[in-house]
């Protein structure tokens, strides 16, 4: 009995000491459990840069034939061969890197920091915009709730997403107007250095962009767009100095992603596209030397659609593809083109022509660093009420929009410029959307059903048709 007691006692001691032995190591020494608004803001902005300046902009530039995929994966992408497994990174950056941290930024900043909250809302609208433009109906109202154990989110209609974005941007404007901030954004704001006024102007510019985006669905779009353009200008969007850009640097992890892809890591995958080069050659565009390099014959030559040609083709130039080149997010030039298109739609052709001419001159000035040559101005930027056409506005917007996703959205919406599908395509027509991401099909129980590699020409997003 004594023995038994001793054993029991010993066992009890062992149990206690075993528990003690293992305690105190449950928290990771490698990562913090929280972050402040400045840290979150930097992360959110980087997600914006990755989304707007990364592969979405490159792939869509191949689809609009600004550039041409000539080898490896770019060949597939240029031929619209992108399946559900090829878009997980982009989708993940938008939701996990961007939208989630933007929501956390808004929450962490709290009511005492309306500037951060307003910025978070503008960035959220931009992120949702990029997502819905490429994917159509996307999760939002039930999204980002993983921490509460809700891993599946229903898909909201594109119409409701764009409406939510407009409301969000209105809310952002109110927040950005508030003066009192406990924590002032500063160098953590790569885009505007903490200038809430510029963010307000940007909010209006984005509102204008998405008013225009639904032009096939909203007959009165131009009235709204013109209102937002005016408000953007009133808030300070009056020159290219107010542009919102992806800001890059000289370290490898800061490189402009066009530079990183085309000049460093994936050299030879993508080259200049014949469509854009031909247009620019035909109008003797002064920007061409900034956009592209000359080939061995000293000429600017784009690779023909589906040609896989690599010899004697122009590469990307320094303006868009050097280490610190900016990739535009939303610009004064774009705002003017929106104004031009909206004025045109409203029947105000003179105002349309003025905005058109100003946009071209502003962009040439921005890219080349000097005023547009007189001959060029007279041939391209001297439109009048009588001469301006929608085709001219959109074609010049197409030229100036290089490296942005926006020309692809405009092309889907308007069909300008006219493009023929790649001869390498497996689908009949140019892709008009991205396939839904594989992770959604596999793990989201509310996933509405696959839209895959074979559907890209047919299953248009909502605003893409009347």
């Amino acid at each position: 009995m004594k023995k038994l007691f001793a054993i029991l006692l010993g066992t009890a001691v062992l149990f206690t000491s075993c528990k003690k032995w293992v305690s105190g190591h449950e928290v990771s020494p490698n990562a913090p459990g929280e972050a402040n608004p400045a840290l979150l803001n930097s992360a959110c902005q980087l997600a914006i840069f990755a989304t707007y300046g990364g592969s979405l902009s490159r792939t869509t530039s191949m689809w609009t034939q600004h550039s041409e995929g000539v080898s490896n994966q770019s060949l597939d992408q240029g031929a619209y061969i992108i399946d559900e497994g090829d878009v997980e990174n982009e989708w993940g950056v938008i939701y996990q890197g961007g939208l989630k941290n933007m929501r956390l930024l808004e929450k962490t900043a709290g009511d005492g920091n309306p500037a951060y909250q307003g910025m978070a809302k503008v960035m959220t609208a931009m992120m949702l915009g990029a997502a819905t433009d490429m994917w159509g109906d996307i999760p939002w109202t039930e999204a980002l709730d993983g921490e509460a154990g809700n891993y599946s989110a229903k898909y909201d209609s594109q119409e409701s997403i764009i409406a939510a974005m407009q409301t969000m941007l209105d809310d952002a404007v109110v927040l950005l107007d508030k003066p009192d901030n406990a924590l002032a954004p500063g160098s953590d704001d790569f885009i505007y250095g903490g200038d809430a006024g510029k963010w307000k102007a940007l909010a209006y510019a984005i509102k204008a962009r998405y008013a225009m985006r639904i032009s096939n669905r909203d007959a009165n779009w131009h009235t709204k767009a013109l209102d937002y353009v005016a408000k953007a200008k009133a808030a300070g969007f009056t020159s290219s100095a107010a542009d919102a850009n992806c800001i890059f640097g000289t370290n490898a992890n800061e490189y402009n992603q066009w530079y990183a892809f085309t000049q460093v890591e994936r050299t030879g995958y993508m080259l200049a596209g014949a469509k854009l080069v031909d247009i620019m050659n035909s109008i003797n565009d002064p920007r061409i030397g900034f956009y592209f390099t000359t080939n061995d014959s000293g000429q600017y030559k784009g690779a023909a659609l589906g040609s896989q040609a690599v010899k004697n083709i122009s590469d990307f130039g320094s303006y868009f593809a050097s280490q610190k080149s900016v990739t535009p997010l939303a610009t004064y030039v774009e705002l003017l083109f929106i104004e031009a298109e909206a004025q045109f739609a409203a029947g105000n052709k003179a105002a349309a022509a003025t905005a058109h001419n100003d946009a071209i001159k502003a962009h040439v000035g921005l890219v080349t660093g000097s005023a547009a040559p007189a001959a060029y101005v007279s041939s391209q930027a001297s439109e009048t009420a009588g001469s301006i056409t929608l085709d001219k506005i959109l074609t010049h917007k197409y030229v100036s929009g290089f490296s942005m996703i926006e020309p692809y959205n405009d092309w889907r919406r308007t069909g300008v410029p006219s493009l023929s599908p790649s001869p390498l395509a497996l689908i009949t027509g140019i892709a008009r959307r991205y396939p839904y991401s594989l992770d959604e099909r596999l793990y989201n129980t509310k996933f509405p059903g696959a839209i895959g590699v074979n559907d890209l020409a047919d299953k248009k997003v909502w605003w893409d048709s009347k």
Partner: protein, 1005 residues
Amino acid sequence: MKLKELLKPLAAAAVLTSSVAAVNAQTAGSSTDTGRVEEVVVTALGIKKQQRALGYAVQSVKGKELVGSGEQNVVQALSSKVAGALVTSSSGTPGASSRILLRGAATFTGNNQPLFVVDGVPIDNSTDQSTAGDYPFNSNLQGVNNSNRAVDINPDDIENITVLKGPAAASLYGVRGANGAIIITTKRGQKGGKRFSAEFSSTMDWSKVNKLPERQFVYGQGLGGGGQRIDSAGVRKNFTGTIPAGWTLVDAGTSATTPNSWGPKIADGKSFDNAGNFFKTAMSMTNNLGVTVNGDNTSARFSVGNTQQDGIVPNTSFKRTTIRVNTDSRVTDKLSVGSSVNLINSGGTRAQNGSNLSGVMLGLMRAPADFNLAGGAGADGYTNSDGTQYQYFPIYDNPYWTVYRNPFTDDVNRIIGNLNAQYKANDWLSINYRVGTDQYTDSRQQIFAVGSWQPDNSPGGEISQNVLRYKEIYSDLVLNANRKVNEDLSVNMTLGNNLNTRTSSDQYLRGRDLAVPNFYNLSNASNLYASQGSGTIKNAAIFGSAEFSFKNFLYLNASGRNEWASTFGNKKSSFFYPSLSGSVVFSELMEKGGLISFGKMRVAYAQAGINPPAYATRTYYGQPLFTDGFTGGLGFPYLGQNGFGQSNGLGNQGLMPERRTSKEIGFDVRMFDSRLTIDLTLYEQKSTDLLVSMPLAASSGYSSVRQNSGTMTNKGIELMLGVTAIKNKNLTWEIAGNFGLNRNEVLSLAPGVDEINIEAAFSSIGSYAIVGQSYGSMYGSRVLRHSDGSMIIGANGLPVLNNTRGNIGNPYPDWIGALRNTLNVKGLNITALIDVRKGGDIWCGTYARLSQYGITAPAADRSETYTIEGKRITSGTPKYDSKTGLITNEGELTFAENTRQISAFNYYRSYLGDGPGSSAEMAVYDGSWVRLRELGVSYRINMKGNKNLSYIDLGVVGRNLWLSTKYPGVDPETSLTGASSNIGGFDYFNNPGLKSFMFNIKLGI
């Protein structure tokens, strides 16, 4: 024989000399037939047990057999020697890791390999890639072939290995034994043994590449397109047949901006066998000296071993020096103490591998045949006259440049040791205490010369240093009581406590943009980066077991273990798991001298629990890195700013232990006076509440959540067979075979989820767990198929892709087996080991890419047109199922046999290759093989009467001298991801395997 007598040799710590499994019958005649039946095996905690008493399957492999394989990595040395053990080497480069799985994969995203134990103390067998904190991808897909850390154990020090295949080891070793255990016993002195003995052995080894993808040497660099080519007069000629729609002629001729070999015909004598010139015959040398001294109360063995391996890839090597001292002393009649100390220094210069712009095979295999990689104008042949790299395509490093300018070196200093004491209180009670440690520092350095392409986004050169530290302290205290209840019944009770703490750290320093070329110090970098990580896991347990033996013929064992772990959240901190096993030696009931000389049936039920990994209970913040998969991406610090985002992995405070339940039944039958031995095991293992990093849809805001989810089973057969075909004074012929078959099935994952990604891989192919399928299924793009199974062919003559990805292959073999024949003719020993693997798919990304580039041998046939068998849709518009991607309205469509001819270019590029519109499915090949894994001849010269020398052994061994496989890549025993990953069956420019020839001489004193 009475139990006491039987226990005597145990107490005396008898060294095992006889083999347990018939498969190991390499040497003949050393053990008597009756001796075999009374064999003891070392089980968990170094406890030696009578094999007949064991209710579960064990298999022993003798050290001699490991040495005989010539493999320096103990894991690789086990290949084809253990029934059902699936050993996969990552490549044939020096020090490359090998992975071992016993009874299949049992968990989704955790560790699936068994625990390695040396002299009773667990050792680390991890394989670590050096990974910067800002590296966004799975580092297992590239980098160098690192070692699994069991490579530090010198096979020459090993007396015996016991393989515990099921979770039987778990009740004693705890969670880490849940996948089985490899129990290594090293050579020791022996009380009563020869007072002084010594053995010196020396081995020379010559190795060559055994298999490479076959390439064409007819067409050179360029992109002629459309299967068109330029004839000798420079005239572009069409192939016969219809030119595919939409295919336009493009610039041909050589071009430094294409990696393709679809260019013009190479003039006679102008082609180069770059691979043939690049790989060399590698020479290795291994020397071992072992000295054993046996005194009255103390015995000791001292050994020193050194191996120096050169690689088939120039400038690669692996070196290992080991020193081991094992001592045993009897302090008093009741107290004996022992110790083991093993000092190891290992490391070498590694070869770049895989999806890696500096990858040896990537730059080498893709090289056009008209480009001589060693033909640069620079003095060394791989540079231009201005000193820049000589390349055929800008972003692929010249492999010579890579091996000479971009070395990765590692240097491991390690100590493994233990002290143990045994106190025998009386004739039935003993107390054992053991404390041991395993500690190492792995210092690594990677250099990328200025002008290299691998540090993806930094052609300015790089030096990075990575220091990995590991420390484990382990102890166990075991009380053992052995009472004889009466003449027929004995009871053996064990009660023990077990503690361990494991700490690891990883420090990574990197400097980029080197100012002075060829000067490699961090001070030379204008761009510095550092990252670090560390972790501690502690486990504690108390365990007990009771074993009953009745009349030496019926055995019953019950055990239980309660374990605590530091990695749980607030819901749980300890868990319990039991085991029960029994055996019946039914031959005891039979008459002696019958057909059956020994027969035993065993039954076992065992459970194991597994605690969560470290720090999985919370959600943290960290520096995010955003990439689309094509660039290194954007990360912090960024423009002088830091940034934190919430981690994409969700923690979970409610984690519970993962459970593994195993049932097995086995028969051990020896007939015809033990000349025929059969050992058969049938097992079924079920894993439940799997601790998984469950992937989530990104719209949840997260990529994964730690949770207990899913179930998976492994069912299988392990068979060992031994036949002594001839046995007489002059000749013995022994045949030993082993066979293993395992069927894995994922039974469930999570509500509403049928398929999960187990580890990040390529964007084109992943490794998945799919309900109803085998774990590790390959998941990728696939061809759209008609309901009759035929491919749907598009207007361009190529297969149409399915809208959704799916299961395209199972990397696990249908079965594996090995057969060894050993002939002993008057001391001359000849042994041949044939190894068979049936099934097991491999994704040959290498071959697909080489096909795309027109480099594979069949792609030389360019004048042919090809018609892919399948159906074309001639009218109607197909609709696709939103889950399976299959056509839902076949009835509304009309189909016709495809007659569209396509060019060789399109055929190889987009059908067999991974070019535009291709599917990953086409790159999956059967990895079956039959190989002559070992062929050995040895002879012992007994130096009777010689005072200084007692014997000389001479041996030659050929390894992998013959390989038969339909696999088009390198040796199908390959794994891109090595031993550090759960991904199996990926080959993307993996470094090749070897065939070797060794000569061995051993002197015994």
